[in-house]
């Protein structure tokens, strides 16, 4: 077990700064998620931590030791790749045993460890198969078993669920998180799927263009976004951003906090005339798409709400002051961060 720390970590490819001075601390035993849009540098950051990519600048510290210059095998890390990268010519058993063989572990001990890892992941019965004879979910578990078997200091996972179909993914998410809790190994998990990030991470680091925009618990990230990017990247549909009349600030509020409000304006309430274009019925909820002035806005009504707002008309809507976040219209930074505890 070990904490992972990066200090001013940078990676410059020919033209692009893929990772741009990242300071990140992942606590011992923590499940940290790197979340960000495609091409923001998540994989590059992970590969540098794993030693597969040499940083242009900065340091990587694992378990208090500076490993920046060490090769992957000296770092005691295990990695699960998006493609799983199982060795296609080896049986499941040999795939899982490969890291142990590389350590020149004795055969009986190898067998014991492989059996242990396989039983944790419930793949004991697949030992003699080749990877091509496995389903996507089974492959993922073999890849996890191969990572687990050496009891590494750190797990690095790069979108390990993206090859699964939606149903399989939900249960795999659950299994993976339970598994991590059980072995309590420091885990850095890369994804561009915010549902995965919110559901699994102890903390989430939201990345954009090689930088970390915000690092916090899922609730922090969702409720107290540090800037406009985080506010609109996390949440689906994203946070509404309505400019103030003088144009200096953006008022941000989540679609579920935007409700229909008849009657006079009250204290602690901001009211808007909301022109509805379109209604989307999604079973558990309804979404209303429309505009406040020129700004596109979405309202989300739970299935339990009795009020409606049929499209084609303008209705009085409101949001509680406590649900409003304020951002600087120019820089996109939060201006009311005093509210954050």
């Amino acid at each position: 077990m070990a904490a992972v720390e990066t200090r001013n970590l940078t990676k410059q490819f020919d033209q692009v700064k893929a990772v741009d001075g990242i300071d990140l601390v992942c606590e011992d035993g923590e499940f940290l998620v790197l979340l960000g849009p495609s091409g923001c540098g998540k994989t590059t950051l992970l590969r540098m931590i794993g030693g597969l990519e040499a940083p242009t600048g900065g340091e990587i510290v694992i378990g208090g030791q500076d490993v920046t210059k060490l090769p992957p095998r000296a770092r005691k890390i295990a990695m699960v790749f998006q493609s799983y990268a199982l060795y296609p010519h080896m049986t499941v058993y040999n795939n899982i045993a490969f890291p142990l063989k590389a350590q020149k572990m004795a055969k009986p001990e190898q067998q014991e460890r492989v059996t242990w890892a396989a039983s944790i992941l419930g793949i004991d019965h697949l030992m003699d198969r080749k990877p091509r004879q496995l389903s996507g979910g089974q492959r993922q578990r073999v890849a996890l078993a191969r990572a687990l078997v050496r009891e590494p200091n750190v797990f690095l996972l790069d979108e390990p669920l993206s090859n699964l179909d939606a149903q399989r993914r939900a249960s795999a998410r659950d299994e993976l998180q339970q598994f991590q809790r059980r072995v309590a190994t420091t885990t850095i998990y890369v994804t561009h799927d915010q549902v995965e990030a919110m559901g699994m991470g102890d903390r989430i680091a939201v990345m954009d263009q090689g930088r970390i925009r915000q690092l916090g618990t899922p609730a922090d990230i969702y409720n107290q976004p540090a800037d406009v990017f985080v506010a609109t990247f996390v949440g689906s549909p994203p946070m509404n951003l309505v400019p103030t009349p003088d144009g200096s600030l953006l008022l941000g509020f989540r679609p579920e906090h935007f409700f229909r409000h008849e009657g006079p304006a009250a204290d602690g309430l901001k009211t808007f005339p909301f022109h509805v274009h379109r209604e989307e019925y999604l079973g558990a909820e309804r979404l209303y798409y429309g505009e406040i002035g020129e700004t596109r806005v979405v309202a989300r009504f739970p299935v339990t709400a009795t009020t409606t707002a049929p499209p084609g008309d303008t209705y009085p809507f409101a949001v509680h002051d406590r649900d409003v976040r304020m951002f600087d219209a120019k820089t996109g930074e939060r201006t009311d961060l005093v509210a954050v505890t």
Binding site: R47, G50, G51, L52, P71, P72, R73, I77, A78, M79, F81, Q82, S83, A85, Y87, P88, H89, M90, F98, P99, K101, A102, Q103, K130, R132, R146, R150
Partner: protein
Amino acid sequence: MSAPAAVQPAARPSVPRYWMDREGILGPVMLLPVVVYIVALVGFPLVLALIYSFSDVTVGDQTINWVGFETFSQAMANPTFRLALRNTLLFTLISQIVVLVLGNILALVLSADFPGKRLVRFLILLPWTTPIALGVIGWLWLLDGLYSPIDALLRMIGLLGPDTLFGPGRNMLWLAQPDTAQISVVLVHVWRTLPLATVILLAGLTAIPQDLRDAANVDGAGFFRQLVYIRIPLLLPIMAVAVLYGIVFTFTDMTVVYLLTRGGPPVDSTQVLASWAYFKGIEGGNLAEGAATAVFLFPALAGVAALMLRMARRAETN
């Protein structure tokens, strides 16, 4: 009735104009040159050789009398034939083992990133682009009895000359003694088939996904473990293809022996089936025996090809 009648005048002129779009016509038309080529230049000689090999035809008496396998037993009774058969198998085997080892090493080296990589790759492929006869004439000079640059190099590094490993003479006389002549033939075959094997293996190496190499690195495998347990097993099918090419080229080649040693020295020590077939059938005038010699290994060779292709396919699906 009236609708088809109205359509017809418009459809008619389109027939000649669109025949190029009709696969039923265009396909055979485009295949024709290849079919003619194969039938005339591959099929006809092959069939003729097969017919000859079951007859007693000679240059002097060109009537074809069916004699069954008599020509074959006659050819096999000749000690030179047996020597040529042994040499053919030996030269092929040894040269292809050397090619496999060198080809793998070269491919590994060339798959790494270093400045001037493209140039080196190009240079390595050059022997493949040289017509084989020209290449062998070059080798004639390299292996010359008096002026061989290889000898000069050996002398320079102290391996040739008085009190050295290769003996007192100033020259190896490569092509004048049976054993060195055999080594020379193998050497030229290696030189000839190595480039293609290297390029094929290089392509195979490059096709191994980066993820697998990364995984092996993270799993703690060093260079040799990765080589033995990951790269070589994954490369096996493509190696089979490379070796298949090498075997076929070496097996069927007569140019190297014909130009380099003419089968000698003194007579027949480097004779191979292809050159022996030529000397016997064309220069010696015994068409039937030459043909029998030439087609002797045809079934075996076809078998090797089928086997290798099967191996490659099976490994591919693994």
